[in-house]
Protein backbone atom coordinates (compact mmCIF):
# COMPACT_ATOMS: atom_id res chain seq x y z
CA UNK A 1 0.00 0.00 0.00
CA UNK A 2 2.68 2.48 1.09
CA UNK A 3 4.90 1.34 -1.81
CA UNK A 4 2.17 1.89 -4.37
CA UNK A 5 1.37 5.31 -2.94
CA UNK A 6 5.04 6.26 -2.89
CA UNK A 7 5.63 5.44 -6.56
CA UNK A 8 2.37 7.04 -7.60
CA UNK A 9 3.18 10.27 -5.78
CA UNK A 10 6.82 10.23 -6.89
CA UNK A 11 5.77 9.98 -10.54
CA UNK A 12 3.15 12.70 -10.11
CA UNK A 13 5.69 14.95 -8.40
CA UNK A 14 8.30 14.56 -11.16
CA UNK A 15 5.76 14.85 -13.96
CA UNK A 16 4.20 18.00 -12.52
CA UNK A 17 7.65 19.48 -11.89
CA UNK A 18 8.49 18.90 -15.57
CA UNK A 19 5.20 20.54 -16.52
CA UNK A 20 6.10 23.51 -14.32
CA UNK A 21 9.22 24.28 -16.34
CA UNK A 22 7.80 23.12 -19.68
CA UNK A 23 4.46 24.89 -19.76
CA UNK A 24 4.12 27.98 -21.95
CA UNK A 25 1.54 29.71 -19.80
CA UNK A 26 2.81 30.88 -16.40
CA UNK A 27 -0.53 30.20 -14.72
CA UNK A 28 -0.38 26.56 -15.83
CA UNK A 29 3.19 26.40 -14.51
CA UNK A 30 2.00 27.66 -11.15
CA UNK A 31 -0.82 25.09 -11.14
CA UNK A 32 1.61 22.29 -11.95
CA UNK A 33 3.81 23.52 -9.11
CA UNK A 34 0.79 23.28 -6.82
CA UNK A 35 0.43 19.62 -7.79
CA UNK A 36 4.14 19.09 -7.03
CA UNK A 37 3.70 20.62 -3.58
CA UNK A 38 0.65 18.50 -2.81
CA UNK A 39 2.31 15.26 -3.91
CA UNK A 40 5.35 16.13 -1.80
CA UNK A 41 3.02 16.61 1.16
CA UNK A 42 1.73 13.08 0.63
CA UNK A 43 5.32 11.81 0.51
CA UNK A 44 5.96 13.52 3.87
CA UNK A 45 2.85 11.82 5.24
CA UNK A 46 4.15 8.43 4.10
CA UNK A 47 7.24 9.05 6.24
CA UNK A 48 4.98 9.85 9.25
CA UNK A 49 5.83 13.55 9.10
CA UNK A 50 2.22 14.69 9.61
CA UNK A 51 3.04 18.13 10.88
CA UNK A 52 5.49 18.91 8.07
CA UNK A 53 2.94 17.72 5.50
CA UNK A 54 0.20 20.00 6.84
CA UNK A 55 2.53 22.97 7.20
CA UNK A 56 3.79 22.40 3.65
CA UNK A 57 0.22 22.82 2.39
CA UNK A 58 -0.65 25.80 4.61
CA UNK A 59 2.51 27.81 3.94
CA UNK A 60 3.61 26.86 0.43
CA UNK A 61 0.39 25.89 -1.29
CA UNK A 62 -1.93 28.11 0.71
CA UNK A 63 0.08 31.32 0.91
CA UNK A 64 3.26 31.54 -1.15
CA UNK A 65 1.96 30.06 -4.39
CA UNK A 66 -1.18 32.21 -4.18
CA UNK A 67 1.12 35.25 -4.14
CA UNK A 68 2.95 33.85 -7.21
CA UNK A 69 -0.41 33.62 -8.96
CA UNK A 70 -1.24 37.19 -7.93
CA UNK A 71 1.96 38.50 -9.49
CA UNK A 72 1.52 36.45 -12.67
CA UNK A 73 -2.07 37.57 -13.12
CA UNK A 74 -1.39 41.24 -12.45
CA UNK A 75 1.60 41.34 -14.81
CA UNK A 76 0.21 39.22 -17.64
CA UNK A 77 -3.48 39.52 -17.01
CA UNK A 78 -4.36 39.82 -20.68
CA UNK A 79 -2.72 36.82 -22.25
CA UNK A 80 -1.25 34.81 -19.44
CA UNK A 81 1.87 34.45 -21.59
CA UNK A 82 5.37 34.98 -20.35
CA UNK A 83 7.56 37.95 -21.30
CA UNK A 84 9.83 37.61 -24.31
CA UNK A 85 13.03 38.41 -22.45
CA UNK A 86 16.05 36.70 -23.93
CA UNK A 87 19.61 37.01 -22.82
CA UNK A 88 21.78 35.37 -25.44
CA UNK A 89 24.03 33.47 -23.06
CA UNK A 90 21.22 32.49 -20.69
CA UNK A 91 20.14 29.22 -22.30
CA UNK A 92 23.56 27.57 -22.81
CA UNK A 93 24.69 28.73 -19.39
CA UNK A 94 21.55 27.34 -17.78
CA UNK A 95 21.99 23.99 -19.51
CA UNK A 96 25.62 23.67 -18.39
CA UNK A 97 24.87 24.70 -14.80
CA UNK A 98 21.93 22.30 -14.62
CA UNK A 99 24.10 19.45 -15.92
CA UNK A 100 26.76 20.33 -13.36
CA UNK A 101 24.21 20.29 -10.52
CA UNK A 102 22.75 17.01 -11.76
CA UNK A 103 26.24 15.46 -11.96
CA UNK A 104 27.16 16.65 -8.48
CA UNK A 105 23.96 15.37 -6.92
CA UNK A 106 24.24 12.03 -8.73
CA UNK A 107 27.84 11.65 -7.53
CA UNK A 108 26.77 12.31 -3.94
CA UNK A 109 23.88 9.89 -4.24
CA UNK A 110 26.03 7.08 -5.67
CA UNK A 111 28.97 7.59 -3.35
CA UNK A 112 26.97 7.84 -0.13
CA UNK A 113 26.31 4.62 1.80
CA UNK A 114 22.54 4.44 1.56
CA UNK A 115 20.62 1.87 3.52
CA UNK A 116 16.95 1.00 3.74
CA UNK A 117 14.92 3.55 5.71
CA UNK A 118 14.76 2.95 9.45
CA UNK A 119 11.34 2.21 10.89
CA UNK A 120 9.93 5.39 12.40
CA UNK A 121 9.51 5.37 16.21
CA UNK A 122 5.92 5.76 17.37
CA UNK A 123 4.78 9.34 17.85
CA UNK A 124 7.47 10.85 15.65
CA UNK A 125 6.31 13.63 13.37
CA UNK A 126 3.27 14.50 15.45
CA UNK A 127 2.76 18.12 16.42
CA UNK A 128 3.81 17.39 20.02
CA UNK A 129 7.05 15.72 18.95
CA UNK A 130 8.02 18.47 16.51
CA UNK A 131 7.13 21.20 19.00
CA UNK A 132 9.06 19.49 21.79
CA UNK A 133 12.18 19.12 19.67
CA UNK A 134 11.92 22.66 18.35
CA UNK A 135 11.61 24.28 21.77
CA UNK A 136 14.00 21.98 23.62
CA UNK A 137 16.92 21.21 21.30
CA UNK A 138 16.68 23.92 18.65
CA UNK A 139 15.48 26.88 20.70
CA UNK A 140 18.25 29.28 19.64
CA UNK A 141 18.05 28.62 15.87
CA UNK A 142 14.27 28.85 16.16
CA UNK A 143 14.38 32.23 17.87
CA UNK A 144 17.05 33.52 15.46
CA UNK A 145 14.90 32.47 12.50
CA UNK A 146 11.88 34.23 13.98
CA UNK A 147 13.88 37.45 14.40
CA UNK A 148 15.06 37.15 10.78
CA UNK A 149 11.45 36.86 9.66
CA UNK A 150 10.51 39.87 11.78
CA UNK A 151 13.26 41.89 10.08
CA UNK A 152 11.85 40.80 6.73
CA UNK A 153 8.33 41.90 7.71
CA UNK A 154 9.50 45.32 8.92
CA UNK A 155 11.64 45.72 5.79
CA UNK A 156 8.65 44.99 3.57
CA UNK A 157 6.54 47.56 5.43
CA UNK A 158 9.29 50.18 5.12
CA UNK A 159 9.63 49.50 1.38
CA UNK A 160 5.92 49.92 0.72
CA UNK A 161 5.72 53.34 2.41
CA UNK A 162 6.55 55.88 -0.30
CA UNK A 163 9.21 58.54 0.28
CA UNK A 164 6.95 61.57 0.06
CA UNK A 165 4.04 60.29 2.08
CA UNK A 166 4.23 59.97 5.82
CA UNK A 167 2.81 56.83 7.42
CA UNK A 168 -0.51 57.58 8.99
Amino acid sequence: MAQVLFWLMAIVAVASALTTIGSRRPVHSALAFLVTLLSLAVLFLLRSAQFVAVIQIIIYAGAILVLFLFVIMLLHAQSGEGPQLKLRFQRPLAIWLALLLFGGLSYLLISSPLSAAQPVPAGMGTVQAVGGTLFAHFLLPFEVASILLLIGVIGAVVLTVKEDEQPK
Partner: protein
Protein backbone atom coordinates in the same frame (compact mmCIF):
# COMPACT_ATOMS: atom_id res chain seq x y z
CA UNK B 1 -6.70 2.15 13.90
CA UNK B 2 -8.53 -0.74 15.60
CA UNK B 3 -6.78 -4.02 15.00
CA UNK B 4 -9.77 -6.35 15.23
CA UNK B 5 -11.10 -5.58 11.72
CA UNK B 6 -9.34 -5.91 8.42
CA UNK B 7 -7.95 -3.03 6.41
CA UNK B 8 -10.39 -3.74 3.60
CA UNK B 9 -13.38 -3.49 5.93
CA UNK B 10 -12.01 -0.23 7.32
CA UNK B 11 -11.63 1.22 3.83
CA UNK B 12 -15.16 0.13 2.93
CA UNK B 13 -16.63 1.66 6.10
CA UNK B 14 -14.79 4.90 5.43
CA UNK B 15 -16.04 5.06 1.85
CA UNK B 16 -19.64 4.51 2.96
CA UNK B 17 -19.31 7.14 5.68
CA UNK B 18 -17.83 9.55 3.17
CA UNK B 19 -20.66 8.95 0.69
CA UNK B 20 -23.30 9.49 3.38
CA UNK B 21 -21.55 12.67 4.50
CA UNK B 22 -21.37 14.05 0.95
CA UNK B 23 -25.06 13.29 0.46
CA UNK B 24 -25.88 15.06 3.73
CA UNK B 25 -23.78 18.08 2.81
CA UNK B 26 -25.45 18.40 -0.59
CA UNK B 27 -28.78 18.39 1.25
CA UNK B 28 -27.42 21.08 3.56
CA UNK B 29 -26.58 23.12 0.45
CA UNK B 30 -30.01 22.62 -1.10
CA UNK B 31 -31.95 23.48 2.02
CA UNK B 32 -29.45 26.16 3.01
CA UNK B 33 -30.51 28.11 -0.07
CA UNK B 34 -34.17 27.50 0.77
CA UNK B 35 -33.71 28.58 4.40
CA UNK B 36 -31.82 31.67 3.38
CA UNK B 37 -34.37 32.78 0.80
CA UNK B 38 -37.30 32.16 3.11
CA UNK B 39 -35.66 33.86 6.08
CA UNK B 40 -34.42 36.87 4.14
CA UNK B 41 -37.93 37.14 2.74
CA UNK B 42 -39.33 37.27 6.26
CA UNK B 43 -36.70 39.79 7.37
CA UNK B 44 -37.73 42.02 4.47
CA UNK B 45 -41.46 41.56 5.10
CA UNK B 46 -41.94 39.36 2.03
CA UNK B 47 -42.90 35.72 1.81
CA UNK B 48 -39.96 34.29 -0.09
CA UNK B 49 -40.32 31.30 -2.45
CA UNK B 50 -43.39 29.36 -1.29
CA UNK B 51 -44.96 28.10 -4.53
CA UNK B 52 -43.10 24.86 -5.26
CA UNK B 53 -44.27 22.16 -2.89
CA UNK B 54 -45.53 22.73 0.66
CA UNK B 55 -43.93 25.91 2.03
CA UNK B 56 -41.64 26.04 -1.00
CA UNK B 57 -39.81 22.93 0.20
CA UNK B 58 -39.33 21.61 -3.34
CA UNK B 59 -37.79 24.89 -4.53
CA UNK B 60 -34.17 23.61 -4.28
CA UNK B 61 -35.13 20.66 -6.49
CA UNK B 62 -36.61 23.00 -9.10
CA UNK B 63 -33.49 25.18 -8.93
CA UNK B 64 -31.29 22.12 -9.40
CA UNK B 65 -33.23 21.01 -12.47
CA UNK B 66 -33.02 24.54 -13.86
CA UNK B 67 -29.24 24.68 -13.37
CA UNK B 68 -28.78 21.29 -15.05
CA UNK B 69 -30.69 22.26 -18.17
CA UNK B 70 -29.04 25.62 -18.65
CA UNK B 71 -26.63 26.11 -21.51
CA UNK B 72 -23.15 24.98 -20.54
CA UNK B 73 -21.02 27.68 -22.15
CA UNK B 74 -17.39 28.72 -21.96
CA UNK B 75 -16.54 32.36 -22.62
CA UNK B 76 -14.43 33.18 -25.69
CA UNK B 77 -10.68 33.01 -25.07
CA UNK B 78 -11.19 31.58 -21.61
CA UNK B 79 -8.47 29.32 -20.26
CA UNK B 80 -10.43 26.06 -20.51
CA UNK B 81 -8.41 24.04 -18.01
CA UNK B 82 -8.60 26.65 -15.27
CA UNK B 83 -12.20 27.52 -16.13
CA UNK B 84 -13.31 23.92 -15.54
CA UNK B 85 -11.00 23.32 -12.63
CA UNK B 86 -12.10 26.30 -10.50
CA UNK B 87 -15.66 25.27 -9.54
CA UNK B 88 -14.63 21.64 -9.06
CA UNK B 89 -11.80 22.71 -6.78
CA UNK B 90 -13.89 24.90 -4.47
CA UNK B 91 -16.50 22.16 -3.99
CA UNK B 92 -13.94 19.39 -3.50
CA UNK B 93 -12.06 21.42 -0.91
CA UNK B 94 -15.21 22.35 1.02
CA UNK B 95 -16.27 18.69 1.16
CA UNK B 96 -12.83 17.37 2.07
CA UNK B 97 -12.53 19.53 5.16
CA UNK B 98 -15.48 17.70 6.72
CA UNK B 99 -13.46 14.49 6.87
CA UNK B 100 -12.06 15.47 10.27
CA UNK B 101 -15.19 17.09 11.75
CA UNK B 102 -16.60 14.97 14.61
CA UNK B 103 -20.42 15.16 14.69
CA UNK B 104 -20.83 13.14 17.84
CA UNK B 105 -18.92 11.50 20.69
CA UNK B 106 -16.30 8.88 19.76
CA UNK B 107 -17.93 6.53 22.27
CA UNK B 108 -20.66 5.69 19.75
CA UNK B 109 -19.15 2.94 17.63
CA UNK B 110 -20.20 0.85 14.69
CA UNK B 111 -18.10 -2.22 13.80
CA UNK B 112 -15.50 -1.01 16.29
CA UNK B 113 -14.86 2.38 14.66
CA UNK B 114 -16.37 5.68 15.79
CA UNK B 115 -19.58 6.29 13.88
CA UNK B 116 -19.76 10.07 13.92
CA UNK B 117 -16.50 11.07 12.27
CA UNK B 118 -14.46 9.80 9.36
CA UNK B 119 -11.00 10.29 10.77
CA UNK B 120 -9.25 11.74 13.79
CA UNK B 121 -5.82 12.94 12.75
CA UNK B 122 -3.17 14.28 15.04
CA UNK B 123 -3.05 17.67 13.32
CA UNK B 124 -6.90 17.89 13.21
CA UNK B 125 -7.74 21.57 13.14
CA UNK B 126 -4.52 22.39 11.27
CA UNK B 127 -5.57 20.00 8.51
CA UNK B 128 -8.84 21.89 8.11
CA UNK B 129 -6.92 25.16 7.79
CA UNK B 130 -4.62 23.54 5.21
CA UNK B 131 -7.46 22.13 3.12
CA UNK B 132 -9.50 25.32 3.15
CA UNK B 133 -6.46 27.38 2.17
CA UNK B 134 -6.44 25.46 -1.12
CA UNK B 135 -9.96 26.78 -1.75
CA UNK B 136 -8.50 30.20 -2.56
CA UNK B 137 -7.22 28.72 -5.85
CA UNK B 138 -10.74 28.01 -7.04
CA UNK B 139 -11.70 31.65 -6.56
CA UNK B 140 -8.56 33.18 -8.07
CA UNK B 141 -8.52 30.74 -11.02
CA UNK B 142 -12.21 31.19 -11.71
CA UNK B 143 -11.68 34.94 -11.84
CA UNK B 144 -8.66 34.76 -14.09
CA UNK B 145 -9.80 32.00 -16.44
CA UNK B 146 -13.02 33.78 -17.41
CA UNK B 147 -10.98 36.40 -19.27
CA UNK B 148 -13.11 39.28 -18.04
CA UNK B 149 -12.03 42.29 -16.04
CA UNK B 150 -14.87 42.06 -13.53
CA UNK B 151 -14.08 38.44 -12.87
CA UNK B 152 -10.36 39.09 -12.51
CA UNK B 153 -10.85 42.00 -10.11
CA UNK B 154 -13.41 40.00 -8.12
CA UNK B 155 -11.07 37.02 -7.94
CA UNK B 156 -8.10 39.11 -6.81
CA UNK B 157 -10.19 40.94 -4.22
CA UNK B 158 -11.59 37.74 -2.89
CA UNK B 159 -8.20 36.09 -2.59
CA UNK B 160 -6.72 39.12 -0.83
CA UNK B 161 -9.65 38.98 1.59
CA UNK B 162 -9.19 35.26 2.20
CA UNK B 163 -5.47 35.58 2.89
CA UNK B 164 -5.91 38.61 5.16
CA UNK B 165 -8.54 37.02 7.35
CA UNK B 166 -6.91 33.59 7.42
CA UNK B 167 -4.29 35.08 9.75
CA UNK B 168 -6.84 36.45 12.21
CA UNK B 169 -8.81 33.20 12.17
CA UNK B 170 -5.66 31.14 12.72
CA UNK B 171 -4.60 33.28 15.67
CA UNK B 172 -8.09 33.22 17.20
CA UNK B 173 -8.07 29.42 16.95
CA UNK B 174 -4.63 29.31 18.59
CA UNK B 175 -6.14 30.60 21.82
CA UNK B 176 -8.40 27.55 22.04
CA UNK B 177 -5.53 25.27 21.12
CA UNK B 178 -3.41 26.75 23.92
CA UNK B 179 -6.19 26.03 26.41
CA UNK B 180 -6.79 22.53 25.11
CA UNK B 181 -3.18 21.51 24.61
CA UNK B 182 -4.16 19.42 21.60
CA UNK B 183 -5.11 19.83 17.94
CA UNK B 184 -7.44 16.83 17.88
CA UNK B 185 -11.03 17.99 17.58
CA UNK B 186 -12.74 15.16 19.55
CA UNK B 187 -10.37 15.79 22.45
CA UNK B 188 -11.00 19.55 22.37
CA UNK B 189 -14.73 18.85 22.67
CA UNK B 190 -14.27 16.27 25.45
CA UNK B 191 -12.48 18.91 27.51
CA UNK B 192 -15.54 21.15 27.34
CA UNK B 193 -17.69 18.63 29.24
CA UNK B 194 -19.15 19.54 32.62
CA UNK B 195 -20.03 22.99 33.91
CA UNK B 196 -18.71 25.99 35.83
CA UNK B 197 -20.37 26.64 39.22
CA UNK B 198 -22.94 23.98 38.42
CA UNK B 199 -24.97 25.93 35.85
CA UNK B 200 -22.70 27.54 33.24
CA UNK B 201 -21.59 25.01 30.58
CA UNK B 202 -17.84 24.64 30.50
CA UNK B 203 -17.58 25.86 26.91
CA UNK B 204 -14.55 27.64 25.56
CA UNK B 205 -16.62 30.68 24.58
CA UNK B 206 -16.71 31.71 28.26
CA UNK B 207 -12.93 31.52 28.49
CA UNK B 208 -12.35 32.95 25.02
CA UNK B 209 -15.07 35.56 24.40
CA UNK B 210 -12.72 37.76 22.38
CA UNK B 211 -11.38 34.77 20.47
CA UNK B 212 -14.92 33.72 19.60
CA UNK B 213 -15.85 37.19 18.36
CA UNK B 214 -12.70 37.39 16.22
CA UNK B 215 -13.31 33.91 14.84
CA UNK B 216 -16.89 34.83 13.95
CA UNK B 217 -15.76 37.97 12.09
CA UNK B 218 -13.07 36.01 10.28
CA UNK B 219 -15.50 33.25 9.41
CA UNK B 220 -17.91 35.74 7.85
CA UNK B 221 -15.08 37.23 5.80
CA UNK B 222 -13.66 33.86 4.75
CA UNK B 223 -16.99 32.65 3.45
CA UNK B 224 -17.49 35.90 1.50
CA UNK B 225 -20.75 36.57 3.31
CA UNK B 226 -22.39 39.91 4.01
CA UNK B 227 -21.24 42.35 5.30
CA UNK B 228 -17.98 41.16 3.75
CA UNK B 229 -19.38 40.01 0.39
CA UNK B 230 -17.22 42.43 -1.59
CA UNK B 231 -16.03 39.88 -4.14
CA UNK B 232 -19.53 39.77 -5.55
CA UNK B 233 -20.69 43.33 -4.91
CA UNK B 234 -23.10 43.75 -7.80
CA UNK B 235 -22.85 47.46 -8.40
CA UNK B 236 -19.06 47.36 -8.77
CA UNK B 237 -18.18 43.96 -10.16
CA UNK B 238 -21.42 42.41 -11.47
CA UNK B 239 -20.95 39.09 -9.67
CA UNK B 240 -17.19 39.09 -9.18
CA UNK B 241 -15.35 35.91 -10.04
CA UNK B 242 -18.61 34.10 -10.80
CA UNK B 243 -19.73 36.57 -13.47
CA UNK B 244 -18.85 34.42 -16.47
CA UNK B 245 -20.11 31.17 -15.02
CA UNK B 246 -23.51 29.71 -15.79
CA UNK B 247 -25.62 26.61 -15.25
CA UNK B 248 -24.20 23.85 -13.10
CA UNK B 249 -20.76 25.43 -12.76
CA UNK B 250 -22.29 28.55 -11.26
CA UNK B 251 -24.35 26.35 -8.95
CA UNK B 252 -21.15 24.67 -7.79
CA UNK B 253 -19.78 28.00 -6.56
CA UNK B 254 -22.97 28.43 -4.55
CA UNK B 255 -22.66 24.87 -3.32
CA UNK B 256 -19.16 25.63 -2.04
CA UNK B 257 -20.40 28.81 -0.36
CA UNK B 258 -23.13 27.06 1.61
CA UNK B 259 -20.97 24.08 2.52
CA UNK B 260 -18.29 26.52 3.69
CA UNK B 261 -20.87 28.23 5.90
CA UNK B 262 -21.71 24.84 7.40
CA UNK B 263 -17.97 24.19 7.82
CA UNK B 264 -17.12 27.39 9.69
CA UNK B 265 -20.27 26.95 11.80
CA UNK B 266 -19.17 23.42 12.67
CA UNK B 267 -15.68 24.59 13.61
CA UNK B 268 -17.08 27.38 15.78
CA UNK B 269 -19.38 24.86 17.46
CA UNK B 270 -16.55 22.42 18.11
CA UNK B 271 -14.01 24.96 19.34
CA UNK B 272 -16.16 27.42 21.26
CA UNK B 273 -19.64 25.99 21.88
CA UNK B 274 -18.78 22.58 23.24
CA UNK B 275 -19.48 20.53 20.09
CA UNK B 276 -21.83 17.67 20.92
CA UNK B 277 -21.93 18.45 24.67
CA UNK B 278 -25.43 18.94 26.04
CA UNK B 279 -27.99 17.60 28.49
CA UNK B 280 -28.46 13.80 28.81
CA UNK B 281 -25.30 13.15 26.83
CA UNK B 282 -24.09 10.74 29.53
CA UNK B 283 -27.20 8.56 29.33
CA UNK B 284 -27.55 8.59 25.56
CA UNK B 285 -24.30 9.49 23.75
CA UNK B 286 -25.94 9.44 20.30
CA UNK B 287 -28.00 12.44 21.40
CA UNK B 288 -24.80 14.47 20.93
CA UNK B 289 -25.37 14.63 17.18
CA UNK B 290 -28.65 16.46 17.79
CA UNK B 291 -26.99 19.06 20.06
CA UNK B 292 -24.19 19.50 17.53
CA UNK B 293 -26.61 20.03 14.63
CA UNK B 294 -28.75 22.43 16.67
CA UNK B 295 -25.75 24.58 17.51
CA UNK B 296 -24.59 24.59 13.88
CA UNK B 297 -28.09 25.51 12.74
CA UNK B 298 -28.21 28.40 15.23
CA UNK B 299 -24.91 29.64 13.82
CA UNK B 300 -26.17 29.41 10.24
CA UNK B 301 -29.30 31.32 11.27
CA UNK B 302 -27.14 34.14 12.65
CA UNK B 303 -25.21 34.18 9.35
CA UNK B 304 -28.44 34.76 7.43
CA UNK B 305 -29.71 37.25 10.00
CA UNK B 306 -26.53 39.31 9.63
CA UNK B 307 -26.84 39.28 5.85
CA UNK B 308 -30.35 40.69 6.06
CA UNK B 309 -29.34 43.31 8.63
CA UNK B 310 -25.93 44.77 7.84
CA UNK B 311 -24.92 46.88 4.84
CA UNK B 312 -21.81 45.93 2.89
CA UNK B 313 -18.64 47.66 4.06
CA UNK B 314 -16.12 49.32 1.74
CA UNK B 315 -13.05 47.48 0.52
CA UNK B 316 -10.55 49.70 2.35
CA UNK B 317 -12.63 49.34 5.53
CA UNK B 318 -12.50 45.59 5.07
CA UNK B 319 -8.70 45.58 4.83
CA UNK B 320 -8.36 48.04 7.72
CA UNK B 321 -10.59 45.86 9.88
CA UNK B 322 -8.64 42.74 8.98
CA UNK B 323 -5.13 44.05 9.47
CA UNK B 324 -5.53 46.84 12.02
CA UNK B 325 -8.28 45.50 14.27
CA UNK B 326 -8.74 41.74 14.00
CA UNK B 327 -5.05 40.83 13.75
CA UNK B 328 -3.77 42.93 16.71
CA UNK B 329 -6.72 41.89 18.87
CA UNK B 330 -6.10 38.25 18.01
CA UNK B 331 -2.46 38.68 19.06
CA UNK B 332 -3.62 40.30 22.30
CA UNK B 333 -6.05 37.45 22.88
CA UNK B 334 -3.23 34.96 22.34
CA UNK B 335 -1.03 36.78 24.85
CA UNK B 336 -3.80 36.90 27.47
CA UNK B 337 -4.59 33.23 26.93
CA UNK B 338 -0.94 32.30 27.31
CA UNK B 339 -0.79 34.23 30.61
CA UNK B 340 -4.01 32.56 31.74
CA UNK B 341 -2.68 29.08 31.00
CA UNK B 342 0.56 29.96 32.76
CA UNK B 343 -1.16 31.16 35.94
CA UNK B 344 -4.08 28.70 36.14
CA UNK B 345 -2.96 25.57 34.21
CA UNK B 346 -6.09 23.64 35.29
CA UNK B 347 -8.42 26.00 33.40
CA UNK B 348 -8.30 24.47 29.97
CA UNK B 349 -7.93 20.84 30.84
CA UNK B 350 -4.88 20.46 28.62
CA UNK B 351 -2.42 20.92 31.44
Amino acid sequence: MPSNISLLALVLITIVKGAVLIGALLTVFAYGTWLERRLVGRFQLRLGPNRVGPGGLLQPLADGVKAMFKEDFVPAQADRLAYWLAPALVVAVALTAFAVIPFGPPAVKLFGVPLFYISNVNAGILLILAVTSIGAYGVILGGWASNSKYSLLGGLRSTAQLISYELGVGLAILGVILLAGTLELPQIVEQQAGSWFGFLPRWNIFLQPLGFLLYAIGALAETNRAPFDLPESEHELTAGYQTEYGGMKSAMFYMAEYIDIALVSSIATLLFLGGWQGPFIQQLPALGVLWFLLKVLAFIFVFIWLRATLPRIRYDQLMDLGWKVVLPLALLNLLLTALMVLIWPWLGGGG
